[in-house]
């Protein structure tokens, strides 16, 4: 009975061959001076749609930056993009971060959209001291871990929820309508739970009556039970956090069951997905959605950037993709000032960012500047309404009032 020993022998033989192969692969090639950027985003699986948008936006930005001469302080060094698929799985994200840092020797990391992937990957970057730019991943916690190398472009979720309520208050004032009963419906994940926790606080402060607080699995195949619950709770305002598939299903089902509400407010994500408008169509009319950016933003260059993006990829820029686009310009700006590929210098440059102009600054606010935690201080949000004003359903900025599209009168409450 010597067989098991034999078997162990077999396995070791294979192990040996494999490690040899691995060793050969790890030899690094000398290269010209470039800035290597590792991007960890979901390119397959349930979040593939957002990942693709982010990838396209990054690509467009980097092309522009490189075409304009790259990083001049580094002798015109080009930005080189490396992408990898996280599949929305934390363990894949971590493995890829390790690889990007140790094997590909990237100078900067960006990603990862899913907060669950962003947490552990930023921890990896922090350990190696590699700067990590987070375009979108809204959980407050990401910039509150005490990490020195994490910089977030997007607003954090406490700002999103704060602005949703501020918007509501402003609209009530403007249209002289008092809304009282409020319902929360959100995907049962990190993102939805994070929003819901803060909504609860804000509703208490704002003196709203919470009539429904309902998480749902975003893998649900039938949302009519949820819609029935909403209908029976009879709220004035419905606040939503949804991924794309469920946002579409929920919107259609709400229409099917003729649920009458005074306002529906989304939280970006699924509601901002380019597929959403196409798939929900008329049913999405009058829906409000909070986003970082909208095509009608009154900013020089925004329209051109969107035209270019749309002609290349077939759909509009959205909050997620604009943050990714901007992130590349923030990076380029920091590199220019750092004039070095040393991660410490890059980090310092990022920390002192004050980017107020340039091609990337197509966002509604005035500048990108990071606070001590690495959060973009000025990040602000706008509220859009989906409506048809003659050119099919489109997203129209309505709030803050100074950003409202000229000539548009928001429909509030919903008829």
């Amino acid at each position: 009975m010597k067989k098991p020993i034999k078997e162990i022998g077999v396995c070791s033989a294979v192990l040996w061959v494999l490690t040899m192969a691995l060793g050969a692969g790890s030899v690094c090639l000398a290269q010209d001076k470039v800035v290597k950027v590792g991007n960890i985003i979901p390119l397959s699986g349930p979040s593939a749609s957002v990942g693709q948008q982010g990838k396209n936006a990054r690509e467009m930005a980097v092309e522009e930056i490189n075409a304009a001469g790259g990083i001049k302080s580094l002798g015109g060094a080009k930005l080189v993009m490396l992408y990898t698929d996280s599949e929305s799985k934390p363990e894949k994200g971590v493995a890829e971060a390790e690889r990007f840092i140790n094997t590909e020797k990237v100078h900067v990391l960006t990603g990862c959209w899913n907060s669950a992937v962003t947490y552990p990957t930023t921890a990896v970057a922090e350990r190696y001291g590699i700067p990590f730019i987070v375009p979108v991943s809204v959980a407050d916690k990401i910039t509150e871990q005490g990490f020195k190398t994490v910089f977030r472009i997007a607003a954090k979720d406490s700002w999103w929820t704060r602005d949703q309520f501020a918007f509501l208050r402003d609209m009530e004032k403007e249209f002289n309508a008092k809304l009282e009963k409020i319902a929360f419906v959100y995907e049962n994940g990190d993102w939805g739970k994070g929003f819901a926790e803060q909504w609860k606080e804000l509703a208490k402060k704002g003196d709203y009556k919470v009539v429904l607080d309902e998480p749902y699995p975003s893998t649900a195949t039938d949302l009519s039970p949820i819609v029935q619950k909403i209908k029976r709770a009879n709220p004035d305002v419905l606040l939503l956090v949804s991924n794309a598939a469920d946002a579409i299903l929920l919107t259609n089902t709400l229409a099917d069951y003729r649920v009458k509400l005074k306002a529906i407010i989304g939280s970006g994500g699924g509601h901002a997905d380019p597929s959403f408008l196409q798939a929900a169509g008329k049913n999405a009319q009058y829906l409000f959605d909070i986003v970082e950016w909208e095509t009608d933003v009154n900013k020089p260059g925004a329209k051109e950037a969107n035209e270019k993006f749309k002609s290349r990829y077939g759909y509009n820029l959205a909050g997620e993709s604009v943050d990714a686009y901007l992130a590349m310009y923030v990076l380029a700006d920091a590199m220019e000032r750092a004039a070095s590929l040393d991660p410490v210098k890059i980090r310092e440059a990022l920390a002192t960012t004050n980017l107020g102009s340039g091609r990337g600054m197509i966002v509604g606010y005035d500048a990108v500047e990071f606070d001590k935690t690495g959060q973009n201080k000025h990040a602000s949000l706008v509220m859009v309404q989906i409506n048809d004003i003659g050119k099919g359903m489109e997203r129209i900025t309505v709030w803050p009032k100074n950003a409202r599209r000229a000539g548009y009168q928001p429909v509030f409450p919903m008829p």
Binding site: A13, V94, A95, A116, P120
Partner: protein
């Protein structure tokens, strides 16, 4: 040299290589990949006690992995208890759960058992996603738990380098391989195999099939949970969708079947093929065309199963035997 000495020499050589590897392979990337490879080999070997020897197909082992990960993490983060202790406690809890779930399910045949264990694993995930606080313990529902990377050291099973993790999981893997080796030669091993293949015949030969399977399940779930705690300390972040996922349960079963179910080296061989395929196809193709790497992974599963339905273990064992024979003959 005799055949036996040749084998001993070979085994020693392998041990020297795997223990010496971190000295040559300095890159944390590859150490990271290897740690995960060993982890999966370990998990699959543990799974093999039930899925291989006892002849059933459990597809819910992620639940035990999750129990291990959550137990040690909750105890460490909230009470400062050493993860080593949490690891053992998680193992015991998983063991109890394993027996409880095994009691009714082992009566079932093939497909039912597989589906029941899927439901068990998924049910466990849904539970964890729905519970924020379990008594005094904060398990944080769908948001997962983070382990702050403070207090590095062996006592806390937390290190800044990959090497300690590498050696710990390597020792765990060798230990679990040794356990399987001894079980396969013991009465329990014989009984498990017999009960898995022909339960009625086994019973008539004095084998209490159900009890043997339960013992195997208890061991398997215990060992699986240990790996869960290790993983939590290695990745410092756990959440239900990653540690109690159907994907994980499936991947363990894939590795076992690709490597060769019920053989001792099978899990290791399976991990040696599938992990690199999964990692390197993602690295090389993940960004070029979306999903291409998963197509490759799927194709590998299909092709290996079509051409080697008994797993990689069969031809490789044969080749290895041939090699030994030739060396043996030449030395005489």
């Amino acid at each position: 040299m005799t055949r036996e000495n040749l084998q001993k020499a070979f085994l020693t050589l392998v041990l020297i290589i795997v223990f010496g590897l971190p000295l040559i392979l300095r890159s944390p990337t590859y150490l990271h990949i290897l740690v995960l490879l060993y982890l999966y080999a370990y998990l699959t070997t543990s799974w093999n006690l039930v899925g291989g020897f006892a002849g059933v197909l459990p597809l819910g082992h992620a639940a035990f992995f999750g129990i291990g990960a959550y137990t040690s993490t909750v105890l460490y983060v909230q009470y400062g208890v050493s993860p080593w202790f949490g690891m053992v406690l998680g193992g015991v809890l998983a063991s109890i759960t394993g027996v409880m779930i095994g009691l009714p399910t082992f009566k079932m045949r093939g497909a039912y058992f597989a589906l029941a264990t899927i439901a068990f694993g998924e049910g466990m995930r849904v539970m964890v996603e729905n519970i924020d606080h379990l008594g005094p313990f904060n398990i944080n529902g769908p948001r997962g738990l983070q382990i702050p990377p403070l207090n590095v050291g062996l006592a806390n099973l937390m290190f800044t380098n990959k090497e300690p993790y590498y050696y710990i999981i390597l020792v765990m893997l060798i230990a679990v391989l040794a356990v399987t080796y001894f079980i396969s030669r013991s009465r329990l091993g014989y009984y498990l195999n017999a009960g898995g293949e022909e339960p009625e015949a086994a019973m008539s030969l004095g084998v209490n099939v159900a009890r043997c399977k339960l013992i195997a399940m208890a061991m398997s779930s215990f060992l699986t949970a240990l790996a869960g705690s290790f993983y939590a300390q290695f990745s410092l972040f756990i959440h239900p969708k990653s540690v109690i996922s159907l994907d994980l349960s499936f991947e363990i079963a894939f590795i076992a079947l690709i490597g060769g179910r019920g053989s001792i080296v099978g899990p290791v061989l399976g991990a040696l093929l599938l992990r690199p395929v999964s990692d390197f196809s993602r690295i090389y193709f993940g960004a070029t065309l979306p999903g291409l790497h998963l197509i490759i992974f799927g194709m590998v599963l299909i092709l290996v199963m079509i051409y080697l339905p008994r797993g990689l273990q069969q031809p490789l064992t044969k080749a290895y035997n041939g090699l030994l024979n030739r060396l043996d003959r030449r030395s005489r």
